[in-house]
Assembly symmetry: C2
């Protein structure tokens, strides 16, 4: 059972929707590399803010997910920024080990070739 | 009327779903700054690949949206990377002017304070 947290009203009112999931981009705090995209509900965001550990909402398991709780590949959150329409966040993080479950440093490890016409 | 494009089968098969929208993170190619998060359908991705200009799907207008077509704030796409589960992309871009409709360089211009317990 994870701990509980409630998002402060000062932050809630910045969000586009009280119920929609928020897209959360994890970016390496030092190198700027984008590591992964995951999702948060309000409680996941509240827990992230309160604990400093990146905490997401798993859409496949329908539960709060403390990143690295199983793998040890935690993310210490240094900064959080919200976008202009209040439905996406950037977390800059200190990543322990690999961000991706495949063992790659980043989830974005598949290059898509460009075709210049 | 925008031009038409079809995504190559070699790319289609990397995607999680043929119909779900794909989250597309635009990142400054030079500085690594994350500029915005938008959405693509397969045609938007095909157009982006074919033209080298970031092209999204507008969820509010339900139409293909060539970034900067109205504002002039275009994004020349340098690289595209797909994530491990095939439903999110990073575009590294050369951003013309501001990425955000508010005039800010990045859409992620609202800092969320952290509370360390």
């Amino acid at each position: 059972m994870h701990q509980r947290a409630i998002l402060p009203e000062s932050i809630t009112r910045l969000l586009k929707s009280p119920t929609d999931l928020i897209a959360a981009i994890a970016q390496d705090h030092v190198t700027g590399e984008v590591l992964m995209l995951a999702w948060m509900n309000q409680e996941a965001l509240a827990l992230t803010i309160a604990t400093g550990q990146a905490t997401y909402w798993s859409r496949s398991r329908n539960e709060i997910w403390v990143k690295g709780a199983t793998s040890g590949h935690t993310q210490k959150v240094m900064n959080i920024s919200l976008d202009c329409d209040g439905d996406a966040l950037i977390l800059t993080v200190i990543q322990e080990g690999a961000a991706c479950h495949t063992g790659n440093r980043t989830c974005f490890h598949q290059s898509i070739p460009m075709v210049t016409l």
